[in-house]
Symmetry: C2
Subunit: 499 residues, 2 copies
Amino acid sequence: MPHRLMPQPSYAQLESAFTRLYWYQHLSALGDWDQAVMMPPAGNEARAAAMAELDVLIHNTLTDPAMGDRIAAAEQEDLDPARAASLREMRRQWQLATVLPARLVQERSLAATRCEHAWRDQRRDNDWQGFAVNLRTVIDLAREEARLRADATGLPPYDAMMDRSEPGASAARIERAFAEVKQWLPELVRKAMDKQAGEKTIAARGPFPVASQRALGAELMELLGFDFRGGRLDASDHPFCGGVAQDVRITTRYQEDDFLQSMMGIIHETGHARYEQNLPRDRVHLPVGQARSTAIHESQSLSFEMQLARSPAFLSLIAPMIRKHLGAQEAFEPDNLARMNTRVRPGFIRVEADELTYPMHVILRFEIERALIEGAIQVDDVPSLWDEKMQTYLGVDTRGNYRNGCMQDIHWSISLIGYFPSYTLGAMYAAQYFAAIRSQHGDLDARIAAADLSPVFDWLGANIWSQGSRWTTAELVKRATGQELNAMHFRFHLERRYL
Amino acid sequence: MPHRLMPQPSYAQLESAFTRLYWYQHLSALGDWDQAVMMPPAGNEARAAAMAELDVLIHNTLTDPAMGDRIAAAEQEDLDPARAASLREMRRQWQLATVLPARLVQERSLAATRCEHAWRDQRRDNDWQGFAVNLRTVIDLAREEARLRADATGLPPYDAMMDRSEPGASAARIERAFAEVKQWLPELVRKAMDKQAGEKTIAARGPFPVASQRALGAELMELLGFDFRGGRLDASDHPFCGGVAQDVRITTRYQEDDFLQSMMGIIHETGHARYEQNLPRDRVHLPVGQARSTAIHESQSLSFEMQLARSPAFLSLIAPMIRKHLGAQEAFEPDNLARMNTRVRPGFIRVEADELTYPMHVILRFEIERALIEGAIQVDDVPSLWDEKMQTYLGVDTRGNYRNGCMQDIHWSISLIGYFPSYTLGAMYAAQYFAAIRSQHGDLDARIAAADLSPVFDWLGANIWSQGSRWTTAELVKRATGQELNAMHFRFHLERRYL
């Protein structure tokens, strides 16, 4: 049966409603960016009120009683596969918004605000007992949310929480993938450290003026294909990629004694940015034209930062740019740059972790937060579990050090549960993409070193960026690489780089 | 009869609705500022769509059918005088928004977009005939709008157009005030030019680096009481004061060969900014707590720029700051700075005009646009009238020079009719305020020279800023200065400065 070319009435009405939502979300993205980058401190209260009003508007638009009826009606219409996929994503956003009662949304928001606010001081003061009081409320509400989401979706509770940012993710599958990683990664960390113990790495000598770091960053963004006609680079306390697809705004933070932090941060955010800048522009106003998931987004930033930028080929390509902006010094020789960017050092802090130890930080959090949501453990069990796992996975002693242990991340305090796995899933996907790219381009490293990055951009553009949310995550990855998530590619990548 | 302390049901509902509108307007102000200051070019289309969606939302919120009923019901409630004034301003905003049919709003918007867009090239090409075609449509629609607004308000048509930004303004009263000015100002211009012909003014030698101009501007803003905790200074093509009361953002433009443009521009915008920053914060979310009118806003910027900053006392105060940021040179001696800032030179262009000739540019436009709206003249009559008035008022020959004549301003092309008088009304109000301040502070100039600007700030704060829209413009000015608008103060100010 041939598919009709014109959209059907209910589906067409949904496109109008979601387009309106998209423009509201544009204003929300602008407000967020400005708040982090431009807004003076005394503007905060009024901005928060305006953004809250906008949140209400977005929520009301999405949960309008007519919306559910229209979705149900559209599902009876004869839609072509592209529109059917579009409708699937609309239903998903509608369901995410409607499943929670307003009372729970409000309680969660209050509990998160209170917990996060107090956490800032409690972390500084290493005050686990104080933090635990608030965290218990957050976790109780998260369990309630997980049950409601599980009932609505038929997913297990933790999967239902992951589903908010990682649709289709299965804790059981992630557990299997992470179980594999746990088998080989600790040993690989030890071997890499042994190998590096005999290497001499020359430290770069600062200070590196902010203006020079910024100029280097901007040149790297150009090299990486960032379109400055539709985007900006600014500074903020916490680096992020924000704005909208037509106007993508990345930020970094500068330290005058450490150029690598801003340089690698900019490259990382540029990966996010190119995904946004190259989403299918004719559908980006609809959920189906938007980024697939958090892990797929992270797979773009990690393709840029880990797969590409920490490779010897890329570092040899950019060594002259580094010297141009920061002056010539021995530390900027390509081999030394490669050593600087692959140094392995187990430590307390996830966001400061190297490529090799990072997954263990994520696996630990995944195991703890999943057990919390499933009720297998309680908040009071967290510190001892944390200590035990840090010792087992990374050989690090965190006993009594809550500040740099289980209190280091903001995520749990704001009820961002089910989010951590995305970081390592992203790293695994990125490794899988590059395996596919290398299988097509045996000369990939030579081409990268010769400033020809088109094999990477063309592959990501065709297989990921242009696809938006046309496919489920599993389909997307399978269409792109010929197989579903396969942690072996990650292992091969790490062994190739670190052994 | 005692007034009840609690707001009445309908009035209270109106406060909620207008508070919601205020937060929407916050987002609109942020979008406008970002568009002018930060947005990369390729972001324009999406931003325009998001802003249009927001405009629709604001319009729909304001013209919700229930709003008119609620206003009528609230007018039957027993409100204290402050709430009655608040209700008066709500009715005013509601009426401004509801009086035009959607068809006319759309036609006006399309005609303005077309006319303004073509005007950019037509002005460059001196193409009056081409411009006139589009302008006729704009004027036809403006006449229709004026008739509808006149019917709704009982005002004469041109007054009804002015009422949009200048509530309560009467063309008849303005005509009388301007008739006075026309009697003495041309002669004063001649005398001032004769006097200045014998004076030697030393030109400042650039270049003046942008960073130095900016630092000077920021220091002047501090001196003038701008609160950087709730505001910013940035650069844009067209200087403006934007943002919201809690986060006021002014801009300027820099030319390396002319520091006065950015310096006086910053001082001017700081006048607008202090009005916004000092509106009654507990009512700023309601129309009654917002700025009174365009002329009153302009009276703040001109109090800062003309009354204060071009005075010898102020220039002697800031001469050391100028030298500190731009280096020492003879041109920066206080007497020379005063001569630079009061030089009189009749010219073609309104926005480049000096303090003394500026009103004649405004009077000419007022006379022509009023006659256009009233139908006394047609679009084709504009150039010859322009030529005749420029010759009579300023002795300037504009024949055939449409580009720098009747095509120089953007206002008419975008249907901004009834707006020009505000500029000179603002200058007159500012002179009247300073006459009042001087009557309380005989030592005003000495205090200004000694960096004590409190007489000015205290007076403006108590009489204008903190009053918002509590009173009609006429009441506001009478309460502040003891009399309604009196152009004699403007005359005395100019004679004192220029003779």
